[in-house]
Symmetry: C2
Subunit: 132 residues, 2 copies
């Protein structure tokens, strides 16, 4: 049985903030909001982020340099991520689509390269911004 990984103090604090946010957070905005809890330096934030990513608790939205909580409950380790990003309001949503992820996991290029992970980001207009 897979042991539920216990998080350290800093990791808990930072995961908590990211989970409560309904938008991706930037590292330095996280830093700012945890300074009252004794986390003073960027490295403390980045180290926790790195661990949380490895555990699949959060993902990095590469094109935005921002961090978002993982929504798919059983995402123990993060190897396959897909997001939709509204270019107007910057809303980011994790896409969980079985067909899409199956398609991408099975994708192989012509060179024979072994794929271990992927990250897909769609950019466009969300339904709210579409109307305006």
């Amino acid at each position: 049985m897979a042991q539920t990984q216990t998080l350290s103090k800093n990791q808990k604090i930072i995961l908590d903030i990211i989970e409560k946010a309904n938008e991706p957070l930037k590292a330095y905005s996280i830093l700012f909001s945890v300074q009252k809890k004794g986390i003073k330096a960027p490295l403390q934030v980045y180290r926790a982020l790195e661990k949380l990513i490895k555990l699949g608790k959060i993902h990095k939205v590469e094109s935005r340099n921002a961090f978002i909580a993982c929504k798919s409950s059983n995402c123990e380790i993060s190897k396959a991520t897909a997001f939709s990003i509204c270019e107007t309001c910057e809303k980011v949503t994790e896409i969980s689509d079985q067909k899409l992820s199956k398609y991408l996991k099975n994708f192989h290029d012509k060179t024979g390269m072994i794929y271990k992970k992927y990250n897909l980001e769609f950019y466009g207009l969300c339904t709210t911004c579409k109307r305006n």
Copy 2:
């Protein structure tokens, strides 16, 4: 007939360097190598990069903060990009796979969001590194 966009002096210099490199280049390494040609400031580089991206001449590899020349000759405007990235040697290759791009262009999520662009990055082991 689509007029071939004429590039400005700085844009030509920077595109030239990126095209001749067989790897993605970082903005500041570009800056360093064009300083003898009179381009002294980061902004001069970033402005040219921005324009070249808009024209589809180059792409940004988001997870690496690096820039690579577009290989698909008819890529006038860059809306759909896919790369494979070797996590060992950092070799980056643009993937041009008709089926993949067709699949992704036609992909729609449940929310009804309009997708204008996407960027897909696969991470893994290239054939060379696989052997070692």
